[in-house]
């Protein structure tokens, strides 16, 4: 090959490298619906004003399981994306593998530790190092109720689960389905988690769902919990098999059912139909002596990459995500509340304001708990045992004692 040809080849090989000098960061996530994409655009636009490009890698489906798989293959082949949306224990787990970047300098400069609820830190730190920036906080233990049905039946917002079940039985006699839901294990898990924290207080939830204490798992309280779950099953119509959660929300909106136990992503269904909180529908926390706030967060973690431009983009992205203005804009569209506790909630709707206030109280009262069904309490191998047992109990006619036995054996088997 002549020298001229060789230098021509070398020159063409340099072209791709120069194209990246702008600073692009590839973000892997599983938000594909229109409202989620709109919310992401808030972050995207702010990042672009800092001079960096956002390269979108959306892998939707199976509640984020597909995106996790895509991440696994990228990491094992040594080509990680710049940032990834973490769910549950993923961030700390990848940090243990040593592939996640330490964001401590940024955290100290931005005062992250003070701005975030302390309970959140387990999921965004590994040891002392910050490894992810949380953008939002969903709450799992909401009850969404049709106002017309409640008012006509003379039902007030229940203060205890006993009240709620009694109200449900009254509605059933009138021929209205009290609770709308589907039979997917996570939908049943939402009710199970709520009972776990509401019936015997946050300490019991911590002992069972986080510490996996064998004595607490095998206690008479657990048997009574399953009894209560059985009573809730009596309030659900028999057609609930295979029903999607959004269809169940639709039943509450139409007045075919009275209430739904669902996280605050259900609020979007009401708002999309133009309904107003407290005017057309009620939103309240699952009833408890000490109202709990079961949180589900989305956070973005950065992976260690060799490219310096990507590293700078990562810093910019983390700053953008923790920016109070961005958090406000993002959450107004998404329907959750900001992860930061120091963002003003004036522009949010009444349900979000209620969530914000109850969160502040829960932090003080120690009832701010990670939602187990979404992976924020026990690790997946244990959380799935709870899900299996609750689901099997709910759809069949197992006795409460047998369910507790199955739970204890399942947890032991997974240790």
């Amino acid at each position: 090959m002549s020298k001229f040809l060789a230098s021509l080849v070398a020159a063409t090989m340099l072209v791709p490298a120069s194209a990246r000098a702008e600073g692009t960061i590839e973000v892997l996530h599983h938000w594909v619906s229109q409202s989620e994409v709109n919310a992401l655009n808030v972050i995207r636009k702010d990042l672009e004003t800092k001079g960096f490009q956002w390269k979108d890698s959306a892998v939707g489906g199976m509640s984020g399981a597909n995106a996790q798989q895509a991440l696994r293959s990228r990491l094992t082949s040594g080509d990680p994306p710049g940032a990834m949306q973490f769910l549950g224990w993923e961030g700390p787990q990848w940090a243990e593998q040593g592939v996640v970047r330490d964001l401590n300098d940024l955290a100290k400069a931005g005062g992250w530790r003070e701005a975030l609820p302390p309970q959140l830190l387990t999921f965004v730190t590994s040891g002392d190092a910050f490894i992810a920036a949380p953008i939002n906080m969903h709450r799992q233990n909401w009850v969404w109720a049709n106002k017309k049905i409640f008012d006509e039946a003379g039902i007030a917002v229940p203060k205890t689960w006993a009240d709620l079940i009694a109200a449900g039985k009254r509605l059933k006699e009138k021929g209205i389905t009290p609770v709308a839901m589907g039979d997917e294990p996570w939908q049943i898990g939402i009710i199970f988690d709520a009972l776990l924290s509401d019936l015997y207080g946050p300490e019991f939830y911590k002992k069972v769902a986080i510490d996996l204490d064998p004595a607490a798992l095998n206690s008479p309280e657990m048997v009574k919990l399953f009894d209560t779950l059985r009573e809730v099953r009596g309030l659900v119509d028999d057609n609930f098999v295979g029903r999607d959660w959004a269809v169940a929300t639709g039943l509450v909106i139409n007045g075919e059912a009275a209430m739904q136990f669902m996280g605050d992503w259900a609020k979007g269904e009401f708002l999309a139909k133009g309904l107003k909180p407290n005017a057309d529908f009620y939103c309240f926390a699952t009833p408890a002596k000490v109202p709990t706030f079961q949180y589900v967060i989305d956070s973005f973690g950065m992976f260690t990459v060799k490219d310096e431009t990507v590293q700078n983009a990562q810093v910019a992205l983390a700053e953008t995500i923790m920016d109070p203005a961005v958090q406000k804009g993002f959450n107004l569209i998404k329907g959750s509340i900001p992860a930061r506790t120091d963002v003003s909630v004036d522009d949010f709707d009444d349900c979000a304001k209620l969530g914000f206030n109850e969160r502040a109280e829960a932090i003080k009262a120690g009832s701010m708990l990670g939602a187990m069904t979404h992976g924020f309490a026990a690790k997946p191998e244990f959380a799935s045992v709870f899900g299996d047992v609750a689901a099997q109990f709910f759809v069949g006619n197992m006795a409460s004692q047998d369910a507790v036995k199955m739970l204890v054996e399942g947890i032991d088997n997974a240790r």
Binding site: N239, G242, V395, M406, G410
Partner: protein, 297 residues
């Protein structure tokens, strides 16, 4: 000239092997090497990512102590047996009926074969709606007047696996029918004529002569359908999502959820090894006996 001729004839002899070699290499690596890797993982304590230590049979012990696995294995036997038996039986019956030189044979053949063109996800979703008590068959029949009629198998943990059988058989019997039809067309008419001259009735001819002559077609059908039965993952996921509870869990869905959703890669690998051993224990003797007989007879 002699040397050139023997070289080109030697090359002609080697050519088939050279052509097949790349595909063979790919298959050996992607299938058998990774089967070996899965086997290795099943002896480690891998949870979230592969870890290469050695813990003996601990993952297998854990696997067999999981009640969901017992449900999955039982479901696999129920589903495979019913699926194979019904698909083969219905396929054979339809092939025999279609073979009677009827008028719209081409059209009917296409109609029966069409379900195979659907993805299992489509089949699962459609049948989920059809079998839902509030939306599908039960509702239609009740509204037609038979108000006491119930068909809520899909909501019953004990009966849900049979709904998976129904959807699977609907999809695959056309396929079995097509293979049997080809086999029937390949049977020499003179044998049938000879039997008719002897005075044998049609059912007897079919039972004693034609169906035994379909053994090679039967082998193809059974091998292909059992591969579909054991692989049934998308059908179960779309139809019942392994529910209600975990009533329609199959080893394939168990393996997927253990490895990718529950951070129990070692248990997932152990379940895959168990699946392989079960399949090998049944298919290998069957293949061996069928192929040995063909070579001898």
């Amino acid at each position: 000239m002699n040397a050139a001729k023997s070289f080109s004839s030697r090359l002609a002899g080697w050519l088939p092997r050279i052509v097949v070699a790349p595909s063979l290499l790919v298959v050996i690596v992607t299938v058998y090497l990774f089967i070996l890797w899965t086997g290795v993982i099943s002896f480690t304590s891998s949870k979230f990512v592969p870890v290469y230590d050695f813990v003996g049979l601990e993952q297998f012990v854990r696997l067999w102590a999981t009640p969901r696995w017992h449900t999955a294995v039982a479901n696999l036997f129920i589903f495979s047996a019913l699926f194979l038996f019904l698909s083969t039986g219905i396929g054979l019956l339809m092939a025999i009926l279609l073979d009677q030189n009827i008028r719209a044979e081409g059209f009917l053949r296409a109609v029966y074969l069409y379900p195979m063109a659907l993805s299992f996800i489509v089949t699962g979703t459609a049948w989920k709606w059809i079998m839902n008590p509030g939306l599908g068959i039960q509702k239609v029949v009740n509204e037609l007047g038979w108000t006491g009629f119930t068909f809520d198998w899909i909501t019953d943990p004990n009966m849900a696996i049979y709904t998976v059988v129904i959807a699977g058989v609907w999809q695959s019997s056309g396929f079995a029918m097509a293979i049997f039809l080809a086999g029937l067309r390949g049977i020499d008419n003179s044998v049938i004529k000879a039997a008719q001259i002897e005075g044998a009735g049609l059912p007897l001819i079919y039972r004693q002569i034609i169906i035994p002559m379909l053994r090679p077609a039967m082998l193809s059908v059974i091998v292909l359908l059992s591969y579909i039965a054991i692989k049934s993952f998308d059908l179960v996921l779309a139809l019942t999502n392994a529910g209600p509870g975990s009533a329609t869990e199959l080893p394939s869905t168990f393996m997927f959820s253990a490895t990718f959703r529950r951070n129990q890669m070692g248990v997932g690998a152990a379940s895959a090894v168990m699946m392989l051993m079960t399949v090998a224990a049944i298919i290998v003797p069957y293949l061996y006996s069928e192929l040995r007989e063909r070579n001898n007879g």
